[in-house]
């Protein structure tokens, strides 16, 4: 598509926008949508409303795609409620804006969930060597902010480094409470095997370190996500194929979801994300890695731009030891299903009943 065309304000443009509906959907129901007269009328009404907004932008004498797109973005609906035509329109608008902003052709995918797919993830905690290649691959793939100031640097995956710890002969008489001998407990340990008391700011010469184990953590894509429940505007929701996603254009930045998440998976864009043009990944998904804006929350979405097209998430692809596994939970032949069937698996903070679709296992 050419970035210099007028915004979709006239019927002819809308026709063109219709054509841009991605053919990628494998869902037979989605590829041949049944249009009732009522739906048609509804679509007509909303289209004319958005046309009006487009016209408003034109009347403002703005030939800048950025300004026009931003103006229209202010009035667009929640992604989930958009008709296919509106989605296509939003897609065109965003593609135009991003292409201009980043100086290269950017695509915004709107492929929906595929039928018969429920995504799942499994991580072999025994294999992880703490190299954090997944963290960096994720940042590059998903267009996270990478500035210098604190708050401008966003990483969705945290690799926690945990002390191995030990019990010591020399501390046999160290008691608890401290200094009083053994009263109600002993103190012969250094923290060992504690989950979630780790550090992710570690900088060793080599990994893996002898005295440490590693525990990567990111969004667990819960089946009962507390973040979705607390969202006052339903901008974050569980997609039909599993991942919990965010419509960045609908988020009001209240940060309730960040408070509700027991895995600290969510990040707030404190300022306009720092995303250098040459480092920007132009293959994006609307609910996934498209560039975010100031004041909205973001998080891992299992690389929707890849996984909806039968590719692995970036972290799975980059992991040098093969600790990360991803697949379709509904397919008994998938790696993830096999792991669930044969290995000892556990979920983080299972007592909170969030039912993550992210499993840890060990050989």
């Amino acid at each position: 598509m050419t970035p210099n065309e007028t915004p979709p304000a006239c019927p002819a443009q809308e026709q063109q926008a219709e054509c841009l509906v991605p053919p990628a959907s494998a869902d037979p129901a989605a590829s041949a949508p049944k249009t009732t007269r009522r739906d048609f009328l509804k679509a007509g009404g909303t289209l004319s409303l958005s046309s009006l907004m487009g016209a408003g932008a034109l009347m403002a004498q703005s030939d800048d795609a950025h300004a026009a797109a931003e103006w229209a973005e202010h009035f667009q609906k929640n992604y989930r409620l958009m008709t296919d035509a509106e989605k296509a329109e939003a897609r065109v608008r965003l593609e135009r804006r991003y292409s201009q902003e980043y100086g290269k052709p950017v695509t915004v995918d709107t492929t929906g969930p595929q039928p018969g797919v429920l995504m799942g993830y499994a991580l072999n905690i025994r294999k992880c060597i703490g190299c954090r290649r997944c963290v960096h691959a994720c940042v590059e793939e998903n267009n996270q902010s990478r500035g210098k100031r604190p708050g401008e640097k966003i990483e969705w995956i945290q690799v926690l480094r945990m002390e191995r710890g030990k019990f010591e002969q020399g501390k046999m008489d160290h008691g608890y409470p401290e200094g009083l001998g053994i009263q109600v407990g002993g103190n012969a340990y250094t923290p060992a095997g504690q989950v979630l008391e780790g550090q992710y700011h570690y900088n060793p010469e080599k990994v893996p370190e002898q005295d440490a184990t590693y525990m990567p953590i990111a969004c667990m894509q819960c089946e009962k996500p507390p973040c979705v429940k607390v969202c006052p505007v339903r901008t974050t929701y569980r997609e039909a194929d599993g991942p919990v996603v965010i419509d960045y254009n609908w988020c009001i930045g209240c940060r309730m979801c960040m408070g509700a998440c027991p895995y600290w998976a969510r990040r707030i864009n404190l300022t306009n994300p720092v995303l250098p043009k040459e480092e920007m990944n132009p293959v994006t998904h609307y609910l996934g890695n498209r560039p975010r804006m100031r004041g909205v929350v973001e998080k891992c979405h299992w690389c929707l731009q890849r996984t909806r097209h039968d590719r692995y998430p970036a972290c799975v692809e980059v992991c040098p030891v093969g600790a990360r596994k991803f697949g379709n939970l509904l397919d008994p032949e998938s790696e993830v299903s096999k792991i669930l069937e044969r290995k000892n698996v556990f979920r983080l903070k299972a007592e909170l009943n969030t039912f993550p679709k992210f499993f840890y296992f060990y050989d």
Partner: protein
């Protein structure tokens, strides 16, 4: 209609006229308000990065003040309830002033909501019909509902009362009294829901306990009346309007009891958390003693404890609580103590450590302090106008037909 126009114009003319003291007070508030508008502009062009908030500690001074002020708004019921339920003479005379306080407090809360949001320009996303209102799932949705309702209820009750006084008519008790009763129960609901807002998150163990609502209400009914007592004493000394001793005495009693209950609840929490000393007590431990060498909030916490206990003792002493020259001292102490305990002392340690065990600290920036101060200034600006107008009407200085 003509009455309404003359009400508006009489009211406006009355509240705009005042002595040097009045103009100096309003002028200094206006300076702070202008400062607030500037930093609000900064925050919405540069983003929340100009604040001390991070992805780890993402609720700070704004949210703390929001929580505290919801309590102040609810605290107005300590006047309205005795006035209408117990037909307390002294209170009945000033009930409308309590409603005016509630209105200004809710306005401040709304402004803190705006300050807190990352995208205040998208607030309309929350409105039913044109946006999506996640009801009944979202506790924040409930909070918006009860706060808006409370604002409307108080505005109707308060201004209807003033309107009747102004026109010299009779109050239509058929609908006024039910509305007053609804407003009284509603006052409890606003603070209960605000407590649920943070106490329904298992991800934040420090907040995850069912004691939160009652503790919120106890502290609210201590802090709210403290502010009201101060306002009443100022009104007595600076206007012709006389607030009865009995009203102030009753408020002092309410403050004392509620402060005692609040202290008791704090003590219970400390015992329960520290006896077992699980990881879930880390937040409280950070607040009281610091964690991993980070002790930012420790002096604040102990300061608040000292202020609250000392003011409680002072309130118990008849020579202090009955001496209206000394009474402001424990009132200010209790108000400040609760502001710390329920604001920064409650919100910030909820994020320390984070759910994945990370310990960081929060330093409010100049922008946050100025914005906070400016919103308080705006609240007091509104409160001054509302109280002045209400007193003018109660005194009969604004009256229909009097100007002609």
């Amino acid at each position: 209609m003509q009455q309404l126009i003359s009400f508006t114009s009489d009211y406006t003319r009355y509240v705009l006229k005042g002595g040097t003291k009045f103009y100096a007070w309003m002028g200094s508030l206006a300076v702070l308000i202008v400062g607030m508008m500037y930093v609000f502009y900064l925050q919405n062009t540069d983003g929340l990065i100009v604040t001390g908030m991070t992805s780890q500690i993402h609720d700070g001074l704004y949210f703390a003040n929001l929580v505290f002020l919801v309590g102040v708004a609810a605290g107005a019921v300590t006047i309205v309830f005795p006035a209408y339920a117990y037909h307390h003479e002294g209170m009945h005379k000033v009930a409308v002033l309590g409603e005016m306080l509630a209105i200004s407090a809710v306005i401040m809360v709304t402004m803190f909501v705006f300050a807190h949001m990352g995208r205040p320009d998208r607030l309309w996303h929350m409105l039913p019909i044109i946006g999506i209102y996640n009801f009944p799932h979202s506790m924040l949705g409930w909070d918006v509902l009860v706060l808006t309702g409370y604002l409307i209820l108080n505005a109707i009750c308060g201004f209807y009362y003033l309107w009747v006084k102004y026109t010299g008519g009779e109050i239509n008790r058929k609908w006024f009294m039910p509305l007053v009763w609804v407003a009284i129960v509603w006052a409890l609901s606003i603070h209960t829901v605000t407590a649920f807002l943070i106490s329904t998150m298992p991800a934040r163990p420090m907040w995850f306990h069912s004691m939160m609502p009652i503790r919120f209400i106890a502290t609210a009914f201590a802090a709210g009346p403290c502010l009201i007592i101060l306002a009443f004493l100022i009104i007595r000394n600076n206007t012709k309007f006389w607030v009865d001793d009995s009203a102030i005495r009753l408020l002092t009693t309410i403050v004392t009891w509620c402060l005692g209950i609040a202290l008791f609840l704090t003590m219970s929490e400390i015992v329960v958390e520290f006896y077992a000393r699980t990881e879930h007590a880390n937040g409280l431990y950070y607040l009281m003693f610091g964690l991993h060498g980070l002790t930012n909030l420790v002096p604040w916490f102990w300061g608040a404890v000292i202020l609250m206990i000392a003011s409680f003792v002072l309130f118990l002493m008849p020579s202090i609580r009955n001496n209206f020259k000394l009474l402001p001292i424990p009132c200010v102490m209790a108000f400040a103590g609760i502001w710390i305990e329920k604001g920064m002392g409650l919100i910030v340690p909820g994020f320390i450590p984070t759910p994945i065990g990370e310990v960081t600290e929060y330093y409010p920036t100049f922008v946050e302090w100025l914005l906070t101060l400016g919103i308080w200034a705006f609240g007091f600006f509104i409160l001054t106008i509302l109280l002045k107008g209400a007193i003018g009407i109660l005194q009969g200085e604004i009256k229909y037909g009097a100007a002609k």
